[in-house]
Amino acid sequence: MSLKLESQMNKKIYICGMHSGQNPSAGVGIARSIRKAFPNLPIVGVDYWQGSSGLHDESVDEVLIFPQWKQIDRTRHLAQIRKILDDGNLWISALDVEVYWLAQNFGGHPNLLVPSGSALKMTAKPNVEAFTSLGFKVPENISAFLSDVEVHSFLRQIGWQCWLKGPYHDAKRISSWEVFEKARENMQKEWKTSHLFLQRHKIGNEESICFAAYHGELVSAVHMEKRLITPEGKTWAGHVTPVSPELLDGLKTVLRRLEWSGGGEIEYTRDPDGTKWIIECNPRFPAWIYGSALVGLNLPGRLVARALNLPIIETKSLYPFFTRVVQEVVAKEAIGIPMPPDPSLTPWPAGGQKGKAGPMQSSLIPPLRETMELRTLDSIDEEREAIAVRIPEHVPAPYSAEIDMVTESFDGETPTRIHLHSWTMSRFQELLDGIKPTKMFSPEIRIGYSIKTCPTTEHISKAQKSGFYMECISQLEIERALNSGAQPNQIILNGPGKFWPLTRPPVTGLHMLFADSIEELNRVLEIPNIAECIGIRICLPKLQSRFGVHVDEYEPFQELIASIKKIKGKAKLGLHFHMPSWIIGVNRWKDAFQSVLTWCEAIEQLTHVPIEHLDLGGGFYPTDLVGLNFRWIQEMVKMSLPRVDGIYFEPGRSLTQEGEIVVSRVLSVRRDTDKKVSEIVVDACVAELPLIQSYSHRIFFRPAANEGPTSEFRVLEKGAAKILGRVCMESDILSAGMKLPEDISIGDKIIFADAGAYERSMSYAFGRG
């Protein structure tokens, strides 16, 4: 061995982030890889926690345990790391947060194998700009702190399949508005940042490109397909292959531009069509990296070889797959195992988590984020990429203007509900305008106004004037419609309790009646002249609902076919499908609609009874119904079911939800230690706003007296102050966080918009003495 080589072999490799648990750091993998390439090179395991289990691994020669991050003197810490590097040793970090801290505080050093601050910016989530030139696409995303209306619209359009992500590695699945609000609040608290964003989930298999570069020079790269994944999304087994020459060339260029140093990983999803959707870029080696070294692509080994100018020999495995194995090792006495926590420190886990009698695991292993200080990068704030999802205007000017007008001189008792006449009329008109272009095509698009959503005389008569049918769910609602001037042949009767109350004979001669079960269908067929069209509501497989005939089992389908055959000659056949797009999202609704057509075709073929009326129900969010492509729906129906004469929609909420507001007054203002407004109590509550937590509401502010420049009527933006309701219920929280004027005071008005429809019809009297 030459003298130079020998001196290089005395250099130590410091590897920070050695915990090997269910969410392992990469340190052990890096150490094992380097040990495999250079059995004699001394390896120092570094961490900020004694319990970091990988320090006990046999690949580690020496251990350097720092105190918890909060206890560290930063200047001293920087000086110590500098001394290590100046002595010719290498430092590889496997901790995201340490990488960010070093990038921002250290400046470059030839022996520091960590990317720079600007490189981190270019590879930050969600857009990971640096790699878009390599053919990666970015899934649609928006900031989680846009207005509720925008976020709700985004989530509906992507069918509630979405991730809430923070600037580092945290990600939560979002499936409903309630889940989103809770997750956003928790994540904001946990990471002390509002740099959170929502990103569309992409179906596909997870893969990654891992690379190592030395001051801008690509040393090596490898491609890995995940084969087994833990519930936390961690790789448990994988298939390792070389990176294609084209990608390697592209990567070379990008990393040179970024002057990248150290390891890195591009995680992405490959969808079934082969499109690569980038998930994130990790500024370090991944925890599975030793798997790659085992099959003959040793990235940490090659990186060290390049940095220390050492020769490296590798042998390729014929079967390029690896898997992780859980293994017990004898703990090193010199490191020790942490003391058990006092049992009294153990909280009772909420939410029925699994476990044994002992303390929760999370209380034993502190997450790294608690031991490190967080610094955010500005790039998250930068312009988001144009997204394909259409976000409606948050507060249209006429809407705000009408609320301003009706509340300006209001001095009555609060809370109170006020109807927005002009806006409501404009909703009806917009729908009429929306279906107007379809009039010259068949089948005809017809509207049934859902009385239950908002049974006021004003709404019913407007619906009638617009030429809408009346959609009723009980004999009482039919009576209400008839009293408002409707004829029986303008009535559509739906629901599980349509003959309530039984004390009066059912109204006959209806336009359409949709049975909710096969039993009801058989019964209805015995009532002479009950309706021109008799139909059945079906519930599609996979869509949870208590309504309609469930066709996910074969026997009910057989019975359905037998019953439908009996309709022939008695009435026209109709079919009803209702699944609120509000709940399942617009795109999923469209898919369900196409699936309904398949069922209809099967029913027609088997019964030889043509379907003449197709009712697609309601449940549309206000902006979603008018956004539907009615022409496409007409064409699809015409193609599958040529005998259909009318396609029905039954809007209620989409016409009326926005058309009412609840005006409340501030009862109390609470401030934090910095004298900032932290909470207010208003005189409205969940009784007037029973659905406040199930969908997004726009909230307005109007001061008691119209004076001062900051105190004018306006819509409130998202912020940190809570709006609490007046009743003594834990759940009476009307907003988890709004930006309130600092001079807000008792008597000022808080106005909740979007409070019509069910928010009105389901409200109740509570706490009124």
Binding site: G159, Q161, H201, I203, D271, P272, D273, Y319, L540, P541, K542, V551, D552, Y554, F557, Q558, I561, N587, R588, D591, A592, Q594, S595, T598, W599, E601, A602, Q605, L606
Partner: protein
């Protein structure tokens, strides 16, 4: 000649198998239709059900494999031959029925799909269990004669049915409809390794560095 090729691979890696000849000559499975309403109804119900089970978010992709089948049915011995009206009442079906159902679904989605067969290697512990499972759980038909049961399990090799999907550019993709995964054109020996495959696509298809021509057993 072809028989020799497969036998030689087996001899090298696995050992002799007594049912080879039968496997290599075995026709692919299909589902019986009574040409009456019973089967019409069952088949249309199944296809509508399958359309509803398609993932809405994956329906945008070129290939939307019916992975839900493996959650809907158990794998195990089922009566043979099986008709549509019998099938919809079953909870357990064998790989031939899985493949036939998956072909119906791929066809309804507009794909060119063909029957495929393969030979897979397993150890004798597995094969002994499977032999026992088939022996004890095979539903008996009244009209069935002894010796009619197809011996798909060998000592260390088993017979299996799959779907061959024709992709643009004469490429093949091989879908395991029983377990809901895609085979890779990789040579491997050992547990679960694909040894040989036979396509019924009338055109020659490329699969990795192999060429699959109609009716021929191709070794990996």
């Amino acid at each position: 000649m072809l028989l020799d090729a497969v036998n030689s691979i087996a001899k090298q890696n696995i050992g002799p198998e007594r049912y080879y000849d039968r496997w290599l000559e075995h026709p692919t499975s299909s589902i019986l239709h009574h040409d009456r309403e019973c089967c019409d109804q069952a088949r249309l119900w199944f296809l509508a059900y399958a359309r509803s089970m398609e993932g809405w978010s994956s329906s945008q992709f070129r290939l939307n494999a019916p992975t839900w089948l493996s959650q809907h049915f158990n794998w195990g011995p089922s009566i043979w031959p099986i008709s549509w009206c019998e099938l919809v009442k079953e909870k357990t079906i064998d790989c031939g029925v899985f493949a036939a159902l998956a072909r119906e679904i791929f066809t309804a989605q507009g794909h060119d799909v063909h029957a495929g067969q393969c030979l897979l290697s397993y150890n004798d512990t597995c094969t002994n269990h499977w032999k026992q499972l088939w022996k004890t759980k095979m539903p008996k038909r009244e009209d069935q004669r002894p010796g009619e049961v197809f011996h798909w399990v060998g000592d260390r090799v088993v017979y299996h049915e799959v779907c061959i999907i024709e992709m643009p550019g004469e490429e093949a993709r091989i879908y395991d409809s029983t377990f809901g995964g895609w085979y890779e054109p990789l040579e491997r020996v050992g547990f679960g390794a694909l040894l040989s495959v036979r396509s019924e696509c009338p055109r020659i298809l490329k699969w990795g560095n192999k060429l699959l021509s109609c009716g021929e057993w191709v070794d990996l």
